[in-house]
């Protein structure tokens, strides 16, 4: 289940930096052949692959611990409950939350944001109040706020960005005011790769007493997230974008906020007692976890956190930054390629267009070469509108990507250009 000591040691003794080849064998899906060619997986912003230890944890749960949680007094139920709550404590340590009660298991980032909009937003917003989001948000950090604004009469305000894909901080400050009740921002843009200065932005909102939710979907796989250092009020992320299973994610919320919020969904596990005249809700986090959760998924997420814990994150960051620089400069060397999103601080996402060739055609031809990239609007249509493009090609990296992957992409793009010559 866990990596051998030798294996772990070789990764930790990283004086020469991080070698992606030392981890590739941990990810069985990386060995898939596409059209007879080795997979070149550059769609990590959509979802990451899973190491054996995560897959094993899920199998192990169903094989040896399978039961419902927080209910039975029998042996398996105790095992399942302990496994589920152990994963919660792993997540707590992973994001450095103060209390395990601040970790709510949800289906993913999207559900985490909807939960906050429909509980915190529903009681906290009234007509004329304002919710501030940014122009580079994923649809999942736009639509839930539009829905709650429609329901409450609150108004959605949008922080603009500049041509490089950086939020305009002066405009952000101007938008914050007495009517602002919630700020919801992405940590890292999924379409542009921009890393936003959220620590400063959170601080500025807090000076005016405004609560802040951070969409961390694209951030958690790439570096250390410390919710106490950020001082964010809510932080939502998905397991499947950080090498864990799909169908489970996390909403971190400050304890006093979670305690003050009404429940999200009603059902089992979220109550203390139920009569037809009155129901007493459970305490957080259980208040927000109605119904049987994705117990096996929680074990898988816990295994993903353990896996990341065995890697040297600083060395990985150096490796990923090098990959990002190589990818960017190699793309710019190609005739007719333009990069969309050139912020100073970027994470492992490069969006680009090729002159005269639609991204969809690029994606199809790259796929023939075994190369997986995302093409489309990346669930960020306002970003596409801003740059006046219908879509982009997006290559996104994880620590298991190598120079060979980047070379394959560059060669693939040359093939695309040959087809369309």
């Amino acid at each position: 289940m866990t990596n051998t000591l030798i294996h772990t040691d070789s990764r930790r003794s990283g004086e020469r930096g991080f070698d992606p080849m030392s981890v590739r064998n941990d990810f069985p899906a990386l060995a898939v052949l596409v059209k007879g060619k080795p997979l070149v997986y550059l769609d990590n912003a959509a979802t990451t692959h899973k190491p054996d230890s995560v897959i094993d944890a899920i199998t192990r749960f169903y094989s040896t611990e399978n039961s419902n949680i927080h209910r039975g007094v029998h042996h398996l139920s105790e095992l399942a409950t302990e496994a589920y709550e152990a994963s919660r404590r792993k997540v707590q340590r992973f994001v450095n939350a103060k209390y395990p009660q601040e970790i709510v298991f949800v289906r993913g980032t999207t559900e985490g944001i909807n939960l906050v909009a429909q509980t915190f937003g529903r009681v906290g917003l009234k007509e004329g109040d304002e919710v501030v989001i940014s122009m580079m948000e994923h649809h999942s950090n736009i639509v839930p706020w539009q829905m709650i604004c429609d329901q409450t009469g609150a108004v959605l305000r949008v922080v603009p960005m500049d041509g490089r894909g950086e939020l305009i901080q002066e405009e952000y400050l101007k938008l914050l005011g007495k009517r602002t009740k919630i700020v919801a921002l992405t940590h890292v843009s999924n379409a542009l790769g921009t890393v936003n200065p959220i620590r400063e932005m959170i601080c500025q909102a807090h000076e005016l007493g405004i609560s802040v939710l951070i969409d961390g979907a694209q951030a958690v796989a790439h570096g250390h997230v410390d919710v106490q250092a950020l001082d964010c009020d809510f932080y939502a992320f998905s397991s499947h974008k950080m090498f864990g299973p799909t169908g489970i994610g996390v909403l971190y919320g400050k304890r006093e906020l979670l305690e003050s919020m009404p429940p999200y969904q009603g059902g089992g596990d979220m109550i203390k007692s139920v009569t037809f005249s009155k129901t007493v809700y459970n305490d957080p986090p259980h208040k927000f976890e109605a119904g049987t959760p994705h117990i096996a998924g929680a074990s898988g997420l816990g295994a993903a956190i353990d896996y990341l814990g065995g890697l040297k994150m600083e060395a990985i960051a150096v490796h990923e930054n090098q990959m990002l620089r190589d990818l960017t400069s190699n793309l710019l060397d190609l005739h007719g390629v333009s990069i969309v999103g050139t912020a100073k601080e970027k994470s492992g996402v490069v969006s680009f267009t090729i002159e005269g060739i639609h991204p969809h055609d690029v994606g199809t031809i790259l796929n023939e070469e075994g190369i997986a990239v995302r093409t489309g609007h990346h669930c960020a249509q306002p970003v596409m509108d801003f740059y006046g493009v219908p879509a982009t090609v997006r290559a996104s990296i994880a620590f298991y990507n190598t120079k060979v992957d980047i070379e394959a992409l560059i060669t693939g793009i040359k093939t695309v250009q040959k087809v369309f010559h």
Binding site: I357, H360, T364, E368, P390, A391, V419, F420
Partner: protein, 150 residues
């Protein structure tokens, strides 16, 4: 490359680069927009119908090579056709580009449209090929304003 060449045939690349009947039509009596939200392909199809004959057909908009070439080739084959013939061609084209068509459709008799037979090997691209045709079909029935592939 062989699969790719079956998809991106010369005729498709040519119509993508130099689309025929491309641009607005001032005296159209049927106008309809077609949109594929998945990839952002967006076209407007203009028809000039005289009784049941397509006297003129043009299109405008932008999208991938498959969708644009398909719209372009479609306009060239439909000009002068009757509504009934156009609808019959829609059915045959639809069969041609969907997987189920393999071996059933006599591609040769479809002329230029046969170039799109390769699309059936690329399920993700069927919607691209069919978008303009869906729009055209919608335009033949006057009361629709826009169609979507979703």
């Amino acid at each position: 490359m062989s699969d790719l060449r079956s998809l991106y045939q010369e005729i498709i690349l040519d119509h993508n680069k130099n689309p025929r009947n491309f641009g607005l039509m001032g005296d159209a009596n049927r106008v309809i927009e077609g949109y594929n939200p998945l990839c952002g392909d967006r076209y407007t199809i203009y028809l000039k119908l005289h009784e049941d004959i397509i006297e003129d057909i043009r299109f405008s908009g932008a999208g991938c090579a498959i969708s644009k070439a398909s719209a372009s080739v479609m306009t060239t084959v439909l000009k002068g056709k009757s509504i009934k013939d156009a609808e019959a061609l829609f059915e045959r084209f639809h069969t041609l580009v969907t997987k189920e068509s393999k071996g059933f459709e006599d591609a040769e008799s479809l002329g230029k449209l046969a170039a799109f037979a390769g699309v059936s090997e690329f399920p993700a691209r069927v919607k691209c090929a069919i978008l303009a045709w869906h729009s055209m079909k919608g335009a033949l029935r006057s009361n629709t304003k826009s169609v979507s592939t979703e």
